[in-house]
């Protein structure tokens, strides 16, 4: 018996979300008295995973490009080989693509957006966010094998030093009629999904020409940029930056909202971020009720000053 964690990497480096999934997997393995096995793709050195309690790493070099169906099938074969009773994935776009396919393949119940370690093992109950972060649902998974999708930044990174043994894994691979023909991705930008800090702005910024301010603030903080729905509908910013109930969910450590009123649909999507800061001219803006820190003030005065002061702060704390 084991717990299997799917480890994603990006340009040869393990993703932070994968370390979080491993941390989660280790907690489950400890509670069950079993061990944690990781599955990696195209990795030469997996020793870093030992820091999060991974004792064994199955690595496969059998596929070069991402294909959800093939990946799901490989994870299934790894789970069967390791007699896994729990399979843990992150909430990245790829993991969320794979998990439902894997669930059918393994005949395993799947809970997505899971925010905490199981509250009980028998029955197996996990807490997941539902209603786009407006509530939580304690969900029982009643199948022999369980699949858990861990919500970003919910469990955190927990170190558990051990030595990870790398083992080569050669699954069988079925042909696929689905192919990625091109990828369009800015490699120099922090993504909303992976960022620790997100700087987001709304209609209060008045027009796309003012977004330099938001980008500068994001730069100093090493943050990703996001926006409210009307801003993307107006074409001021790309759709991929639209966050909220009908856009991307945001679960970061720090969310800074500038010139965003705080409509219920916006808040629903960003609610699970840990610390929220609001900058808004209107002291009655609903966002202040949902925030940890707030400044009542004009973005065009406050943000430039914040950028300058943060530069000084960063220089001192470098």
């Amino acid at each position: 018996m084991s717990v299997l964690v799917y480890i994603e990497s990006e340009q040869g480096k393990f993703k932070k979300a994968a370390f979080e999934a491993a941390s989660y997997g280790k907690a489950v393995a400890d509670a069950m008295g079993s061990s944690l096995v990781a599955l990696t793709f195209n990795t030469e050195d997996a020793s870093e995973l030992g820091a999060y309690g991974v004792e064994k790493v199955l690595n496969t070099n059998s596929v070069a490009d991402f294909n959800a169906k093939i990946y799901a099938d490989i994870i299934k074969q790894a789970a069967e080989k390791e007699v896994a009773s729990v399979v843990v994935l992150s909430s990245s776009a790829d993991s969320r693509y794979i998990a439902p396919l894997l669930s059918v393949g393994l005949k395993a119940g799947y809970a997505s957006n899971v925010v905490a370690a199981p509250s009980s093992l028998e029955p197996f109950v996990v807490k997941r966010s539902a209603f786009t972060n407006k509530a939580f649902c304690n969900t029982e998974i009643s199948t022999a094998i369980k699949i858990v999708g861990v919500s970003n930044n919910s469990f955190g990174l927990v170190e558990n030093k051990t030595t990870a043994q790398l083992e080569n894994f050669s699954p069988s691979i079925a042909p696929s009629s689905t192919k990625v023909t091109s990828v369009d991705k800015a490699s120099d930008k922090v993504t909303i999904a992976d960022a620790d800090i997100v700087v987001s702005a709304g209609r209060g910024l008045k027009g796309p020409e003012n977004w330099g301010l938001i980008e500068d603030l994001a730069d100093v903080l090493g943050a990703a940029t996001a926006c409210s729905k009307p801003v993307s509908d107006l074409g001021w910013r790309p759709h991929s930056e639209h966050v909220g109930q009908t856009g991307k969910p945001v679960a970061t450590n720090l969310y800074i909202a500038i010139g965003i009123s705080g409509a219920i649909q916006h808040l629903a999507g960003i609610n699970s971020s840990k610390i929220k800061v609001v900058i808004n001219t209107d002291p009655e803006a609903p966002f202040f009720k949902a925030a940890d820190y707030g400044i009542v003030g004009d973005a065009f005065d406050v943000v430039p000053e914040l950028i300058e002061k943060l530069k000084v702060f960063k220089a001192q704390n470098a």
């Binding site: 669930s103 304690n138 091109s182 009908t246 707030g294």
Partner: protein, 248 residues
């Protein structure tokens, strides 16, 4: 081309979420239900396939009689026929199993569902459905073109997008981008009148054991009051973020 659009009937985005029966059931009192926003984008794209590529468009929902107004709305927007699978949508796997039965019977070339529903939020039904009927699958889909039996889809990935080439039969998990917000249609009088005459078939499913169960719901803990910092005192904000919140 035979097209099926999966419609999830969900609380309007402005709904306050409450629970009853000892926090085991969603409290529907006073809640307005709508077509799941992601499904509305998919339905609108389906109308394009109907008008430009002669597709026939069926819509389907798993739910009780209370979901029929939502299906009628989809018919008023322009779908040809509706199917309601008469069962409570208990978990993603059960819903996908019922949809798979109907999908096989209808021999659809293309099935458009949403990336996720805004109530259960599982992001699981379309993928499970695709696996069950052995169709190709693309989720987070922001663009879709069909040419004969080949499909070109664009999928949003973390930090960008990728273009995927695949073949029918295909299941899509769609979202905004499939069409724009401004393309969404409000049913007109003629559409509403015609919808009354269109077929809405009710199917009773065979029993299916769910793989997950909602044990109890919880609302987020109430939060403390916001700490206001004077606009003249930005240093204080940096200090709080560094020393108190420890996020920078």
């Amino acid at each position: 081309m035979k097209l099926l659009v999966c419609i999830s009937h969900v609380p309007d985005t402005t709904s306050k979420i409450n629970f009853t029966e000892g926090d085991t059931k969603f409290d529907t009192s006073g809640v307005q239900f709508v077509i799941n926003p992601n499904d509305e984008f998919g339905l609108t794209r389906a109308m394009w396939f109907k008008e430009k590529q002669n597709a026939t468009v069926d819509v389907i929902s798993v739910g009780g009689a209370e979901t029929e107004p939502t299906l009628r709305k989809a018919l008023a927007i322009g779908a040809d026929a509706a199917i309601r699978i008469n069962a409570e949508a208990t978990d993603g796997h059960t819903v996908a199993t019922y949809l798979a039965t109907a999908a096989k019977e209808g021999a659809y070339d293309l099935i458009i569902a949403g990336r996720e529903s805004i109530d259960y939020n599982g992001g699981m039904v379309p993928g499970m459905l695709a696996a069950m009927i052995d169709a190709n699958f693309v989720t987070n889909c922001i663009s879709l073109e069909i040419d004969g039996t080949t499909a070109t889809a664009v999928r949003e990935i973390d930090g960008g997008k990728e273009t995927i080439s695949t073949v029918l039969p295909l299941v899509i998990g769609g979202q905004k981008g499939l069409v724009e917000e401004s393309d969404l249609r409000i049913p007109n009088m003629r559409g509403i009148m015609m919808a009354r005459k269109k077929p809405l078939t009710v199917v009773n499913p065979t029993a299916e054991a769910s793989k997950t169960q909602a044990v109890a719901f919880e609302k987020p803990a109430p939060r403390g009051a916001v700490k206001l910092v004077d606009a003249e005192n930005i240093d204080e904000l940096i200090n709080l973020l560094h020393n108190e919140a420890k996020v920078i």
